[in-house]
Amino acid sequence: MPASSATEPVSLTPPRADGVTPHPRLTTIVPSPDVAWPGLVWTLVRTDFKARYHGTASGFAWALLKPATMFVVLVAVFSFVFASEPTYRLDLIIGLFLWDFFADATKTGMTSLSAKSFLLTKAKLPRWIVVVTSMANAVLTLIVFAVVVSLFIVGSGRSPGAAAFAAFALYLVALTLMVAGLALASSVLYLRYRDLNQVWDMATQAGFFLAPIIYPLGVIPERFHLWLFLWPPTPVMEFARAALVDATLPTTRGHACLALMVAILLGGGAAIYRRYAPRAAEYL
């Protein structure tokens, strides 16, 4: 190795005579030739959780308190309005926790690439994994609420049966896949349109009332139902309510329509992501 110049008397071999401490031994760890998937996924999820909830269970409790508070307030107000609906409370809590997941996961998914720009401009890694793992906290909340709601249903004296709970689990998967499609598409589009999150905020604000969360679908004239079902959370809410509360499974045609919706949103989202992701780093 060439010697250091006379103008900069920096020795290349510590310990040095001028008091600089010798460097601690840094052993080389040879990285895996490709992405170390398990560690990367776990670290992204764990650090997201820590940054969001300050790494504490009490921090996570806030994520559960938000829909729970909403539920209490809405029950207090609308139970009077829909007093004739015997299953209103159960329908409301199912609608609310599904909606909370939809709104939260799509929002964090949209800004996920931008929020992780400090990583994406430094190393090559599969960017889609950043988008998908950004939904992990919302998925965790969804699972917690799903268990709580299921226990609540059983505790209320209903016994929808194993098939209903299995169908309910499938609906949650369907909703998660739809949200993943939306997140994939919006994460790359957000880099080009930086107010897309505000547009989406408006859409979800309107969408909250478009979905039959605080009102039973039956109060809307039937000719509008098809349009309401085009809003992704609606079929999942209605199907989940049918399975858990009414103990009836939707028709095969209904399931086929839901599967088609999942395919369109996930496929479309992935296609948009594939179109724009290669140049995403140029917009970070």
């Binding site: 190795m1 071999t13 990285p31 190393a123 930086r194």
Partner: protein, 248 residues
């Protein structure tokens, strides 16, 4: 590709479209729909070709905006080139823009895990080396302090420590030895020496003629996106100084 080449860059070009009016939001696009924009093509790299040979340290010099960072990002797979071909035949550890960019809401330990896994390390590997990384960065005492409370120098030291622990066959270094005090620079230089002795190949970008002439076996000079000179580190460093002093 020759047997000794680890990276082959053939006629790589990259340009960015610069609009006359920048529109980054849906609102700006909607309201500007009747105001057509002109786009100017900014050629950042223009048919750049070179080879990185096994075991060498290749330096890249050039003035600000000459395309050095873009070139490094293309080599690391972060940007895709518009034209040409990049053949990478070895694993690359990129050390780019380390002075900025951590998660400020996480402490040093979590940031080490985050950056380490992104650089391809396993959790077990990071855990085994965590103390060494913190000691190298002289941040043992502040390991549980959130990065938002760090100075830029402390954050940079941590970044170098992580990157110097996770080393694939090729190291790509952007402005190495430009952070920290004399003591930390000496540690970085010593670590660099260890890695060279271990046979790692290095591609480094620097504005500092001393760094290029001291550490590089060979160097390239970029100007206006084109490769204008190639030679030993000392030759290219001297040419770079000439270029700077000749420019009005």
């Amino acid at each position: 590709m020759s047997a000794a080449s680890l990276i082959d860059v053939e006629a790589v070009s990259k340009s960015f479209l610069i609009p006359s009016v920048r529109r980054d939001t849906v609102r700006e696009h909607v309201f500007g729909v009747f105001e057509p924009r002109r786009f100017e093509q900014l050629h950042v790299l223009d048919r750049v070709s070179f080879t990185l040979r096994r075991g060498e340290t290749l330096g890249i010099m050039g003035r600000n905006g000459c395309g050095k960072s873009t070139l490094l990002r293309i080599l690391c797979g972060i940007y895709i080139p518009d034209g040409g071909r990049v053949g990478v035949h070895a694993g690359i550890t990129p050390i780019l823009e380390l002075g900025v960019g951590w998660n400020p809401e996480l402490d040093a330990v979590d940031n080490v895990y985050l950056m380490g896994t992104v650089l391809g390390l396993t959790l077990r590997g990071i855990s085994a080396q965590l103390d060494g990384i913190l000691a190298f960065a002289e941040l043992d005492r502040f390991a549980r302090l959130k990065l938002k409370h760090y100075s830029s120098g402390m954050a940079s030291r941590l970044a170098y420590a992580v990157a110097f622990a996770a080393v694939r066959e090729v190291l790509v270094l952007d402005e190495i030895f430009a952070v920290g005090d004399a003591g930390f620079r000496a540690r970085c230089e010593a670590r660099y020496g260890e890695l060279r002795e271990a046979g790692h190949t290095v591609l480094m970008v620097s504005h500092d003629p001393r760094t290029i002439s001291t550490f590089c076996d060979r160097a390239l000079l970029l100007d206006g996106g084109s490769l204008i000179a190639e030679g030993t580190g000392a030759e290219v460093a001297a040419r770079y100084v000439e270029l700077l002093t000749a420019t009005p």
